[in-house]
């Protein structure tokens, strides 16, 4: 603090300055924060409130409709809800490792290209621009159509295989192949970009040192240098993949429902909630209870996973 400051009452000026800064902070952050509060926090609290009521078709239930934890016990005792969680677990078990391996593999191959690098990167990234609805049109009506003109059946027919009704065969569950490949195609390119970014951050000196130490190019270098260095990227990728799998809706809805409605199998949580809360019944209380349970599950899963992998730690 300078002498001049003291003479002109610097403390007062600073206090005023701080107030002005606070005002500016809220001018910049306020609109966003208010909107986020209104459209994220308010719905969450409202959902919590609704979940204790028997609220059909209404968002302002009266005291008579109070059911306490009734919706929660109903939800947790509901086989369809539990099986939706099972569907999610199964879906995650397929899609997370498949996407992880494919996107990492693509990144490793593209990263080492000297020619046409941008071309291959674009080709693998391009499906990211495609919507699940459009992809479902292609998968359902062209590739995995259950008739002879479907691409999969045509190609398999060349080898003398019988036709498969991909989306309506439940034993074995061929629809699973359709659902997993759609998402794999749509999202692998995005995660490939994340891995490419991670690969570029690895110091070339590490590879030089490894070469000096006699590590053979290929598997050894990958195992001892590349893979450990990608640790933070891997954690983020797995976390994002699980969260995204949890929110699966578009491809299930578009691939499996038809003019007769949605089949009784393969309903992930969101599809189940969609029909519970917004279906004919409009059971908003039960739907809200389901949403709260799901939010809790994903919050716990995220925290556990972050702890487990040490999210936030730096690479290396």
């Amino acid at each position: 603090m300078s002498a001049a400051d003291v003479r002109t009452g610097g403390a007062v000026a600073r206090a005023l300055g701080a107030q002005r800064r606070n005002l500016w902070f809220w001018i910049f952050v306020g609109p966003f924060a208010v909107g986020l509060g209104l459209f994220t926090y308010v719905p969450l609290v409202w959902s919590l409130y609704l979940s204790f009521f028997d609220a059909h078709n209404t968002v302002t239930p009266t005291g008579d409709d109070f059911v306490g934890l009734g919706n929660y016990t109903a939800m947790l005792g509901d086989g369809a809800f539990l099986s939706s969680l099972g569907t999610f677990v199964l879906f995650t078990a397929f899609i997370v490792p498949a996407t992880y391996v494919l996107s990492l593999g693509l990144a490793l191959m593209v990263n080492r290209l000297r020619l046409a690098r941008a071309f291959f990167r674009s080709v693998f990234f391009l499906p990211t621009a495609c919507s699940y609805v459009v992809a479902a049109v292609i998968w359902k009506l062209s590739i995995f159509n259950g008739v002879r003109f479907g691409l999969a059946n045509t190609v398999l027919g060349w080898f003398g295989a019988d036709q498969t009704a991909w989306l309506s065969t439940t034993h074995p569950p061929w629809y699973w192949l359709v659902i997993v490949t759609v998402r794999l195609w749509l999202q692998a390119g995005f995660y490939m970009i994340l891995f490419l970014a991670g690969l570029q951050r690895i110091s070339p000196q590490l590879y030089e040192a490894a070469a000096v130490d006699g590590a053979r190019a290929g598997w050894q270098v990958f195992r001892h240098i590349t893979f450990p260095q990608l640790r933070a990227t891997s954690v983020a990728v797995v976390l994002l993949l699980v969260i995204n799998a949890f929110q699966a809706f578009d491809e299930f809805y578009n691939l499996l429902s038809d003019a007769r409605g949605y089949p009784p199998y393969a309903r992930p949580p969101l599809v189940y909630l969609y029909y519970t809360a917004l279906g004919r019944d409009q059971n908003l209380g039960l739907g809200s209870a389901g949403a709260v349970i799901l939010a809790l599950i994903i919050a716990v899963a995220t925290v556990v996973q972050a702890r487990w992998f040490g999210l936030g730690r730096k690479e290396g």
């Binding site: 910049f28 495609c130 970014a197 929110q247 038809d258 909630l273 908003l284 919050a299």
Partner: protein, 281 residues
């Protein structure tokens, strides 16, 4: 010994290139099918003697798709465009201002505000769709542009990326502006925004793609046919009973055409944006 090793390395490289080309073709097949089926005749799409190349490309299908009263493509494309553009502009403005305030304006509780924002990333947006629907319907916003756009404008993800970017932004430029007597507001618009174009382009593109491709929210909120987006219109059509295959494929191709163009033009920004976003740090 050395030669054998080189030969092995060469073979490995060749194998990798072959594998890459095969995978690239596999990734392109769905795009090809979209165009092929859109331009082929109905008989050729459903012919048991399926061929890779249709005998005749029917470009007239392109005009047909806008004339079907059952599939309001023109209206749906218009809705999607309005929604995607307003969502993008609104999100980028709101999130960049908030990101800048959080990164640069000293405030005692800035960290608490930041964590309150970041915390919503933990709550998957899709899980709040039931209560959000409830809120929007009680506001009377069902099947309105307001209902389709406003609740989606507050992206914690976009805010996070802007904050990270501005934290790494060279402070000297802003200091010079402050010395010249510019306040936060004018410093932001005149100095920061013009110098941060890459991050605006990256976030803008990502938000635009997300808004154009969104399905669940428009499905829930856009209940009247008048309010359908392209995705909802296509989806409704796939579950309809009498479906005209070539029309559906042309419509699907038309719906992704604007995005593919945006995507190919702005791809390097998206890549740079994803790479610098710090989501994998």
């Amino acid at each position: 010994m050395h030669d054998a090793h080189d030969a092995l390395a060469r073979a490995g490289r060749a194998l990798r290139v072959v594998l890459l080309i095969a995978l690239a073709l596999l990734f392109l097949v769905p795009f090809y099918l979209l165009v092929r089926n859109g331009l082929a005749s109905e008989q050729e799409i459903t012919s048991p003697d399926w061929t890779f190349f249709p005998h005749e490309l029917r470009w007239s299908h392109l005009a047909e798709v806008f004339q079907d009263p059952g599939l309001p493509m023109g209206r749906a494309l218009f809705n999607s465009a309005v929604i995607a553009v307003s969502t993008t502009v609104g999100t980028v403005v709101l999130a960049s201002l908030a990101g800048y305030g959080l990164a640069r304006i000293p405030y005692r509780h800035a960290n608490a505000v930041f964590y309150a924002i970041l915390g919503t990333l933990m709550v998957p947006a899709a899980v709040t769709f039931v209560p959000s629907f409830v809120l929007v319907s009680s506001l009377g916003w069902i099947s309105t542009l307001r209902g389709l756009v406003i609740p989606t404008l507050f992206s914690a993800f976009a805010c996070f990326i802007f904050r990270q970017y501005f934290l790494g932004f060279p402070q000297e430029l802003e200091d010079a502006a402050r010395v010249d007597g510019l306040g936060y507001w004018r410093t932001y618009w005149r100095i920061v925004v013009p110098n941060a174009r890459p991050v605006f382009a990256a976030v803008g593109t990502i938000v635009f793609i997300g808004a154009w491709n969104a399905f669940l929210w428009p499905l829930v909120i856009g209940q009247d046919q008048e309010a359908w987006t392209v995705q909802v219109a296509l989806s409704t059509f796939t579950t309809a009973q009498n479906l005209n295959l070539h029309e559906l494929f042309v419509a699907a191709a038309v719906s992704i055409a604007p995005l593919v163009v945006v995507f190919l033009l702005l791809q390097r920004y998206i890549v740079a944006g994803v790479e610098r976003s710090g989501i994998d740090d």
